[in-house]
């Protein structure tokens, strides 16, 4: 085998490339779920049947969740900027706020589930509603876990450029998660 010489400095941080791939895979899985949701809804409506009865899902909490997640995106990016400039206090505030926004969205989802009164075996629509939103909640918890690890590393280790790549990777996953929620917001809540 013709082997090339040993590697020099890496071109890009492998953490970012790996995160890009992993985020891409998560987004693809989520898009597949939403695509199946929309496909089933269209075929149900085409048959003249009801998908989700009018008034089942309120728009208010869904819009609030969108706004909360967007705020989380801003604070995640704030954390990236803070770690690039070695700004430890602002970095902690930004990471902490991002986690709080994530927890707030979880809380709002709990309210939505209570408010709709749907059960998973009510209908295909209810099943798909829980599958899509449940998968999103799993993704949100994943994004929060990554953010929490980043925060702990910042607390326990050196804050600054060394951590900037990790913070960037966490923020990237968070932004992708927000895009996934946008799909739910429009595809499930608005055009229900």
């Amino acid at each position: 085998m013709q082997a090339l010489p040993l590697a020099g400095p890496s071109r890009i941080r492998s953490g970012m490339v790996g995160t890009l791939f992993a985020t891409g895979a998560a987004v693809v899985a989520f898009c597949a779920l939403v695509a199946i949701y929309v496909q089933l809804r269209q075929s149900t409506l085409a048959d003249g049947e009801v998908w989700l009865a009018s008034g089942t899902i309120e728009m208010g909490p869904a819009g609030m969740m969108m706004a909360t997640l967007l705020l989380g995106s801003i604070t995640a990016q704030w954390a990236v900027q803070a770690s690039k400039t070695h700004d430890r206090p602002h970095g902690f505030i930004a990471l902490g706020l991002t986690l709080v926004f994530g927890a707030a969205v979880l809380n709002q989802f709990w309210f939505v589930y209570q408010n709709t009164g749907l059960a998973i075996d009510d209908s295909t629509a209810a099943l798909m509603f829980f599958v899509v939103t449940g998968s999103f909640i799993a993704m949100l918890i994943g994004a929060m876990a990554v953010m929490l690890v980043t925060t702990l590393r910042a607390l326990l280790g050196t804050f600054g450029r060394e951590l900037a790549h990790t913070t960037q990777a966490s923020a990237l996953f968070w932004h992708a998660m927000v895009i996934c929620y946008f799909l739910i917001w429009y595809g499930v809540f608005i055009t229900k």
Binding site: M1, Q2, A3, L4, P5, L6, A7, G8, P9, S10, R11, I12, R13, S14, V17, G18, F21, A22, G24, A25, A26, V28, A29, F30, A32, L33, I36, Q39, L40, A119, I120, D121, S123, T124, L127, M128, F130, V131, G134, S135
Partner: protein
């Protein structure tokens, strides 16, 4: 200068090597485990083919039909997720760092985690399948069987998650660990094909996971609505798109990389910008990556799900175009290899095991893509017939025979020991013959109208016998590969132990001399 993270560390030995994230250990672990599963899957394939022959028409014997469906579906899942994907991933993990000039994988611990998660998931899949599970039944289910099916689906998800993690590790290594100044074209067809494969798997496997999530969510807890209802074949119908064209072609991408890497001579660096460069070398540098990229682009298959999109989507232009055009890059690579052989410019001896196996992989894939092109021609009425099985068999066996080529070509790097050439050549010939028999027999049955999931009836006995012969040849080839792989592994362990002992003795002597 090498960075800290790229500086080569001494490889761990013994038990430490199994739990350390060293690519020279993780890759062979994937290879050995997949070859063992491959031998077992080949036996299941023989049982399935023999059962089909016994029950040309299952009629009212629904238990026999269920048994046959169990082995038939286990063979398919086993071949893809427990044999082909981990085999190619193991080869890529072992060779990619060396091919691109890196000293290690991008995320060694993730690679190690991927192996153990895959193995654990595989064990769950096998145990759950043997406990009455599987990927559905055709004749109703008991409560226990329902639970076992749910566990099988969970294990399948775990296996896919692990394979995806491994693919991401390899792709990240190719992208981020190449030395500065080394382009992707310099990295060679194998590294390029693995990066492309990771991208295709990344767009395909998560879709399959999404299907699993829907089925599992419906199945567990309360009474299922529709998607998680076991016992009528619907669960399998939601998942079977991954065994059909175009998604199935995603398995063949690394086979193209392996074949091109082994057979076509490398372009000389000095020739890259030279007008005097040999046309074959230019074709390898530019043409092979383009052909592999085009093949991979056409192998995206998550969008083609009959269960949700309806059978009519297969008559649409995109599906037909995809099915026919995918043969073009395959023919281009075949043409290039043929040109190399005619010009006497093959990279290796034409009669070496690796050349025989790599050439067989390319020829099988050409045959398979032609069969695939015939399948999408609607008037031939091959949809949902055993033409699907022909394409599945062709792609799977081409990938495995490419794996044989890689194992025999790079055994010194992979196992620190050389594999016996005649055994490898015999395995490659058996595998190639098996593929031809399976493709021809199943295509013939398809033209006869035999549907894919259940046996069709009388009139195809001869073709079923040919398919059984193909399955037997496949089992024989896998047995040879298994024995050779185990032998080279033992030899490799012995030689590395001897080298270590020799090194320790020298160290002791040095210490003694100092004293």
């Amino acid at each position: 200068m090498p960075t800290t993270e790229d500086t080569a560390q001494p490889s761990p030995t013994g038990l430490k090597s199994v739990i350390a994230g060293d690519h020279t250990t993780i890759g062979p672990l994937f290879i050995i485990a997949s070859v063992i599963f491959g031998a077992a899957a080949a036996v299941v394939g023989v049982i399935s083919a023999a059962e089909r022959l016994d029950h040309t028409s299952f009629g009212d014997d629904l238990n026999a039909l269920n048994d046959w469906f169990w082995s038939w579906s286990l063979y398919r899942i086993g071949i893809i997720f427990l044999v082909v994907m981990p085999l190619l991933l193991g080869i890529a993990m072992t060779l990619t760092p060396r091919l691109i000039g890196a000293s290690r994988l991008a995320f060694p611990r993730a690679a190690l985690g991927a192996f153990w998660a895959w193995l654990f998931g595989a064990v769950i899949v096998i145990v759950a399948s043997l406990s009455g599970g599987g990927w559905d039944k055709l004749n109703g289910v008991t409560a226990n069987e329902n639970d076992a099916i749910a566990l099988t689906l969970l294990g399948t998800g775990m296996v896919i998650f692990a394979l995806l993690t491994g693919a991401i590790v390899v792709a990240t290594t190719v992208i981020a660990h190449r030395p500065t100044g080394v382009s992707l074209l310099d990295a060679g067809p194998l590294a390029w094909s693995m990066m492309v494969t990771a991208a295709v798997w990344m767009f395909t496997l998560p879709v399959f996971v999404a299907n699993l999530v829907i089925v599992y969510a419906d199945m567990r807890g309360r009474a299922p609505i529709s998607y998680g209802t076991a016992g009528n074949g619907d669960i399998w119908r939601q998942l079977d798109w991954i065994f059909e064209a175009p998604a199935i072609y995603g398995l063949a991408i690394p086979a193209l990389g392996i074949a091109a890497q082994i057979l076509i001579p490398a372009a000389k660096a000095a020739d890259n910008n030279s007008a005097t460069a040999h046309p074959i070398e230019i074709a390898k540098r530019i043409g092979v990556p383009v052909a592999i990229g085009l093949f991979a682009t056409l192998a995206f298959g998550g969008w083609s799900q009959d269960f949700f999109a309806g059978a009519e989507h297969r008559t649409q232009l995109l599906y037909v175009f995809d099915g026919i055009v995918i043969a073009v890059p395959m023919l281009a690579i075949f043409g290039l290899v043929t040109l190399c052989a005619l010009a006497g410019r093959l990279n290796v001896s034409m009669f070496s095991t690796s050349a025989i196996a790599a050439a067989a992989a390319v020829k099988i894939l050409v045959l398979t893509t032609i069969a695939g092109a015939l399948r999408v021609i609607e008037p031939l009425e091959l949809f949902d017939t055993r033409a699907d099985t022909a394409i599945f068999s062709g792609v799977a066996l081409a990938a495995i025979v490419a794996g044989i080529a890689a194992i025999w070509h790079w055994t010194p790097e992979t196992f620190c020991s050389r594999a016996p050439q005649p055994v490898g050549a015999a395995a490659a010939v058996f595998m190639g013959s098996s593929a031809v028999l399976l493709i021809v027999a199943h295509m013939g049955a398809g033209f006869d109208g035999a549907v894919n999931m259940i046996a069709a009836g009388d009139g195809i006995d001869a073709l079923d016998r040919a398919a059984l012969a193909g399955s037997l040849l496949f089992a024989a080839a896998m047995a040879l590969v298994l024995l050779s792989t185990l032998a080279v592994t033992v030899n490799g362990i012995r030689s590395s132990t001897a080298t270590n002992n020799e090194g320790m003795s020298n160290d002791d002597a040095t210490v003694g001399a100092s004293a």
